[in-house]
Symmetry: C2
Subunit: 209 residues, 2 copies
Amino acid sequence: MMPSVARIGTPQNQRSRDTRAAMLDAAWELLERAGDSEVTMAAVAEAAGVSRQAVYLHFPSRGQLFMAVMDHVDEALDLHSSLRPVWEAADSLTALDAFADHIARYHSRLIGVVRAVDRSRHGDDDAAALWARSTELWYGGCRSVTDALAAEGHLADPWTPTTAADLMWALMSIEFVDDLTGERSWTPDELATRLRVLFRRTLCNATED
Amino acid sequence: MMPSVARIGTPQNQRSRDTRAAMLDAAWELLERAGDSEVTMAAVAEAAGVSRQAVYLHFPSRGQLFMAVMDHVDEALDLHSSLRPVWEAADSLTALDAFADHIARYHSRLIGVVRAVDRSRHGDDDAAALWARSTELWYGGCRSVTDALAAEGHLADPWTPTTAADLMWALMSIEFVDDLTGERSWTPDELATRLRVLFRRTLCNATED
DNA sequence: CATTAACTTTACAAGGTGTGAAGTTCCTGT
DNA sequence: ACAGGAACTTCACACCTTGTAAAGTTAATG
């Protein structure tokens, strides 16, 4: 007989799979609507229509819940298809534009979740690990684009593939996107257009096509 | 006889002024060194060499303590002198460069404090008010620069004084500065140089002086 | 129809914020 | 010199959060 702790996160019958999804949806909805300090385990449980303890049957801690929400959201929003135009771009300048679009349109929908993971990353080692993994992934995307830019001779003067990737990575941070789409009320489309301008002018040699 | 609550924040004799400063310094030091969730009232008290309750004699809440630290830091770091080159610049392009320097050199020293105020801004109405005031001030600085750029005909095509100020304001956010100086290990000087490049190329017509 | 996973309810420990009140120390003014 | 009071300490408490524990209930499954 397995100890009950081994079941956490992997319940076996149908009933629980629904409940787990309900919890993730509830947490997601709460995170996008309220500040993450208001998204307590009790609030998530109530929004999902279960008891507070039931949440702990699926997620060992608050931080791990948020991590699961992040995976859930990546799947629900189809991260892979949002990035496809970047990888399938014919040339690096097109990839750069596609990356600006990805940041503006995808990241503006992750604000609550990513912020929650960020804030629970101190003290929760698993959340810290997920954060590191995400950061690496995101930075890797930037780096691919800047490497391509450099290879095609588009990278302008003071920049190296590394420093250019650093900048792009900082510009895809949640706070940056949230400041502009939230506080300054830019629409995702406006953000996309202006990020394209920023990337092309700041990082690339003047070709203006 | 005044009720004792009216004394909070304005003690009257010498002994307490020293203690208050010690608390502010202790909180500042802790905030720059540790994550803000570790900076508890007890930790601040211990670092300042007083009891936890003594902190409440000077600051009614954790949020208000952080607000006071922010004022304290602005004074200690001489905010006004850091901004002087911006206001005294002969032309708007020089002001823009000076603003990039200010962001890189000044904001990189505010990271812990500003983040703490940001995070205690939900639930603490006073912290929210201070945040709004700071935001307005910072945005006002950006707007002055972009207005000057527009007046002198330097503002490039898609930008208006408003949207350019929005962007500059987002680029002076703590997270952006922290991502680059912390995670990506840019020095403040490197950040200053690269922000100048970004601002000049993204926002200004090509004059390249 | 017995088993068992999933869920509920209740209880609790630990640690944070903020309030309250009594006691101590030391400055200050008369 | 000494009374008053401001600043601080200590102890105690209410309330909220996370996370653990255990016993009871429901319902799917074999």
